[in-house]
Amino acid sequence: MDDDRFPVRWPGSGPDGYGKGDQHDCRPATFRRRVRVMRPTQHLGVEAGDDRVILSGDLVVWTLHRLNAKDDARIDLSALVRLDTAGAWELARRRAAGADLTGLSARHADLLAAVTAALPRAEAPKPAVPTWRRVLQATGRLVTGAGLYLLQLAEYLGRMLAALARTIRHPTRFPLTALVHHAQETGLRAVPIVAVMSFLIGVVLAFQGSEQLRQFGAEVFVVDLIAISILRELGILLTAIVVAGRTASALTASIGSMKMRQEIDAMRTLGLDPDRVLILPRILALVVMLPILGLISAVAGLLGGAVMSWVELGISPAVFLARLADISVTHAVVGLGKAPIFALIIGVIGCHAGMQVGKDAESLGRMTSSAVVSAIFAVIIADAAFSIFFAQVGL
């Protein structure tokens, strides 16, 4: 039907196409192939008459660039075969600019009228804001955003504690199964990576420490170096960083995907408290498991240090243990004492980020990566604060 006005001249689709088995096409093979695989062979003839431009062939989106850039006063369209909305849009634009269109067929005129009717009315752009105001606005937004973020973190901590208080008053509603599940996910499954990492850190500390201490003939103090740095700082800090990377992202992803699919709204309408069902078991599992992971990390670090001391310095395990016994237990207490706070920080940041996920998948990815970055950063800040605090109180 209607082959005159809508000539099907696509590759391989009709007698006049340059497609399969076309024997009349005598152009060079490379050109033929290029046309065959590219697009329809559509042609727009632009002919300058004495007082007008005569268009012939197809005025479609693929041939739009053949039109003269300048606006012609009169355009003759009687030889035009095919017109699409892109061509009609261009004609409508030129007519609005004062061009005179002649020779439109009824069908093309209909299309032109339809496109003209659909032309969007551009709304006046908002007046430009001066640069100094934009800079001030951006700075102000950043500062209030940061303040608001801290406030929201405090809110989530409060919500978690309130949920904890409620479940203590009604112990039967305690989400024990979820707690165990998340303890397994965040704790048990992190044991291998935490243990291996700490073991290697112990090895590195022993190796580097012995190099330096040997210069003073004080090799045996490498035990103090390893024990104090692992127990007090590195063991728990590196564990917290690994857990922040593993668990904060998992928290954000799991809560965020539920938020995205309106599961959290559904919970609220069903009388389930998301704070109690989702946030409490996750953060509580972290608070319980991070000290345990810290302990495992400390033991693995000491083990690594002992092995390396034995190999590199000839300090036998018995000597290592004897020196270790002289180290104050305060260091281990200080180290492990930080763990629950780190766990709270990681959990609150992860859950908060999950709740900030919007309706699109992109925000889920954005919030997940931002949760990891924020959690690691916050853990390091907190560790620095602890250092100052313990130095002040003399521990």
């Binding site: 039907m1 689709s13 909305t85 634009r93 299309l111 709304e123």
Partner: protein, 257 residues
């Protein structure tokens, strides 16, 4: 000019299955140039699967699908891309790229057009967005900021960007309010008339069938049970078809005519 009906989509003996679950078996279907074909069927009869098979998203087990004379599944990469520029697909929820604004979404297919200036691309995208019935301020909105109906319209604008010959619409009016759905129906007919589109329309909406469709194809028992005009559908003697076109909702629609 000839009166012979040109078939733009021809499906013969189609069989699709997922694992052991056979969705279609021996399905035949034709879409003619310039017509709006409504594809209806109960939930799980594979309407969307059929659409996906025709545009080559799902592999078929047996049978042939020819679109504009090209056999799906046998095309080389460049031929396939050339064919893709001749059809437009609107997915159920618009399937907009979430990292791009609405205008940038519509500009994506236009980027394949050589020689188009930025201003032309922008203007054409804005035209298509306007034709799809979106307000001007939607141009710069992100897909996440739009309502479901607006996302569908934006998806339609993107499907129309290159003035395709065939338009595949997956449940275009599902989830729209009746006024919006009626406007969408009119829009489809208007666009068909203006652009001589062939429209493959998967729907549940009896109003849409009445308002738009030249022919209806009913999917049941893993094949196209029957095709014909709405009037012919009323006489089909099959329990599901009868229930569908004579049910209380259908009567409400026919009573309005």
């Amino acid at each position: 000019m000839n009166d012979a009906v040109e078939t733009v989509v021809r499906v013969r003996g189609l069989r699709t299955q997922f694992g052991t679950h056979v969705v279609h078996d021996g399905l035949d279907l034709d879409l003619n140039r310039g017509e709006i074909l409504g594809v209806v069927g109960g939930s799980g009869t594979g309407k969307s699967v059929l659409l996906r098979a025709i545009v080559g998203l799902d592999a078929v087990r047996a049978g042939t699908i020819d679109v504009l004379g090209n056999r799906i599944g046998t095309l080389s990469g460049p031929d396939r891309r050339a064919l893709e520029q001749r059809w437009g697909v609107m997915f159920q929820d618009g399937a907009l790229f979430s990292s791009l604004t609405v205008r940038e979404n519509v500009e994506v297919p236009l980027r394949a057009v050589p020689g188009l200036t930025d201003a032309q691309r922008r203007g054409l995208a804005e035209l298509k967005i306007g034709m799809a019935g979106l307000p001007w301020k939607a141009n710069d909105d992100m897909p996440a900021d739009l309502s479901g109906g607006m996302r569908k319209r934006a998806g339609l604008a993107r499907a129309l960007a290159l003035d395709p010959e065939i338009l595949f619409l997956d449940e275009p009016t599902a989830g729209l309010d009746p006024i919006g759905a009626a406007a969408f129906d009119r829009l489809i007919v208007t666009l068909r008339d203006a652009l001589n589109l062939s429209v493959f329309l998967v729907t549940h909406d009896l109003d849409t069938l009445h308002a738009c469709c030249d022919r209806v194809a009913v999917l049941a028992e893993r094949r196209v049970l029957t095709t014909g005009t709405m009037a012919q559908m009323l006489d089909v003697d099959h329990p599901w078809v009868h229930e569908y076109f004579h049910g209380p909702r259908a009567r409400a629609v026919t009573a309005k005519d």
